[in-house]
C-alpha cells in the first residue's frame, strides 16, 4: 500500500516541479529535495524494521557483535552517501556528488581496517616467528 503513496507523492512532486521549474528553478529544486527527504524518512522506518529483523537473527545465531555493527554501519554509510550524492546531483553539482560518494567509499574502507588488522594479526600469530 505504501508503494502507492510513495509513487503518488513522487508523481505529484514531478508535476509540480515541471510546473514550477519554468518560473522558480530554485523552488523546484527545494521541492525535489524535500520530497526526496520525506520518501527517504518514510522508507527509513521500513529499513529499521529490516535491520531489526537482521539484528534479531544475528543475536539468535550468536553472530559476533562486531560483524553486525560493521554491516549496519556500512548500510547506513551507503544509504546516506547515496542520498546526499543524488540530492547534490539533482542540484546539478555532479562534482560534489562524486566527492560525497568518495567520502562514503573511504568511510566504508575505514570500516574494513579493523577487520583487516584482525585477520592479518591472526595470520601472523599462526605463522611461526
Amino acid at each position: 500500500m505504501e508503494i502507492i503513496q510513495v509513487v503518488g507523492l513522487g508523481l505529484v512532486t514531478t508535476f509540480l516541479i515541471l510546473v514550477i521549474k519554468e518560473q522558480k528553478p530554485v523552488f523546484a529544486f527545494l521541492l525535489a529535495t524535500f520530497v526526496g527527504i520525506i520518501i527517504f524518512i518514510s522508507l527509513a522506518a521500513k529499513l529499521a524494521e529490516v535491520i531489526g529483523v537482521l539484528q534479531n537473527l544475528a543475536t539468535q545465531a550468536r553472530v559476533n557483535n562486531l560483524f553486525l555493527e560493521t554491516i549496519l554501519k556500512i548500510i547506513g554509510i551507503a544509504y546516506i552517501a547515496e542520498f546526499g550524492a543524488q540530492v547534490t546531483r539533482d542540484a546539478g553539482q555532479g562534482s560534489i556528488a562524486s566527492k560525497i560518494e568518495l567520502a562514503g567509499k573511504v568511510l566504508i574502507m575505514v570500516m574494513a581496517i579493523p577487520i583487516i588488522t584482525v585477520i592479518i594479526e591472526t595470520i601472523v600469530q599462526i605463522l611461526p616467528a
Partner: protein, 221 residues
C-alpha cells in the same frame, strides 16, 4: 555433542553472515559502492570463518590472565578460613596417624602371638600392644600386655605337677598340708619361670624394658 554444538554455532554464524551480505547487496542503492561493500563483506565472512582460530589464539592469551585472576581470587577467599584449613589438616593428620598406629599395633600383636605360640608351650589368648608416637613421628612400643594359657598338649609338663602330688598326698598324711602347698608353689614357680622367659624373649626381640611387658599366664582349665 559439544563439538557438534560448537560446529553448529560456527556454521550458523557464517551462513547468517552470508545471508545478510546478499541481502545487503540487494539493499544497496548504488552500484558505485558495491565493490567496496563486497570487499568489506568478504573480509567479515573470512573473519567469521577464521573465528575459531582467532578464539584459540585469544584463549591462549587469556589463560594466563585467567589463572592469574583465579589465583588472586582464591587467595582472597582462602585468607579468611586458613585457620580452619590448618585445623582440618591437623585433624586429618592425627586421624591418619592413629590409623597407622592401630595397624602397626595389630601387626605387632599378630607377630607376638605367633612368636610366643611357636616358642613356648602356651596358647596366646590375647595380646595388646600400645604404641606411642614420638615427636619425631617414630612409633615406639609403650606397653605389651599378653594373656596366655598353658597348653593342654604340653600339660604333662606342667600338669604333672598337679597329678604327681596327688599320688603323693595320700602317702604322707601329715605332710599333706605342706605338700599341696609345695605343689601350689611349684606350679606358680613353673608358671613364673615361663612368664619370665616369655618376658625375656619379648624383651630381646622387641628391645624393651621389663616394665613395659605384662604377661599373665592363666592356668589350664
Amino acid at each position: 555433542m559439544n563439538v557438534i554444538e560448537w560446529l553448529g554455532d560456527w556454521l550458523k554464524q557464517i551462513i547468517l553472515l552470508i545471508l545478510i551480505a546478499t541481502f545487503m547487496d540487494l539493499l544497496l542503492p548504488n552500484h558505485t559502492m558495491e565493490r567496496y561493500v563486497k570487499l568489506v563483506m568478504g573480509l567479515l565472512i573470512i573473519l567469521a570463518i577464521l573465528s575459531p582460530i582467532f578464539n584459540l589464539l585469544q584463549k591462549d592469551l587469556n589463560l594466563s590472565s585467567l589463572a592469574f585472576t583465579t589465583d588472586r581470587s582464591t587467595d582472597a577467599k582462602t585468607l579468611a578460613p586458613i585457620d580452619q584449613i590448618k585445623q582440618n589438616s591437623e585433624k586429618l593428620k592425627t586421624a591418619q596417624n592413629t590409623l597407622i598406629q592401630e595397624q602397626t599395633e595389630q601387626a605387632m600383636e599378630q607377630m607376638i602371638q605367633e612368636q610366643i605360640a611357636q616358642k613356648f608351650p602356651v596358647e596366646v589368648m590375647e595380646t595388646n600392644v600400645t604404641t606411642q608416637m614420638s615427636p619425631e613421628h617414630v612409633t615406639r612400643i609403650k606397653q605389651i600386655r599378653l594373656v596366655a594359657r598353658m597348653k593342654d598338649a604340653h600339660s604333662p609338663d606342667s600338669g604333672d605337677g598337679m597329678r604327681s602330688p596327688q599320688p603323693i598326698m595320700p602317702v604322707h598324711v601329715n605332710v599333706g598340708e605342706e605338700q599341696p602347698a609345695s605343689t601350689r608353689t611349684e606350679k606358680p614357680s613353673q608358671q613364673a619361670g615361663l612368664v619370665r622367659s616369655i618376658i625375656d624373649d619379648l624383651k630381646r626381640t622387641w628391645n624393651l624394658s621389663s616394665e613395659q611387658i605384662q604377661v599373665r599366664l592363666e592356668p589350664v582349665l
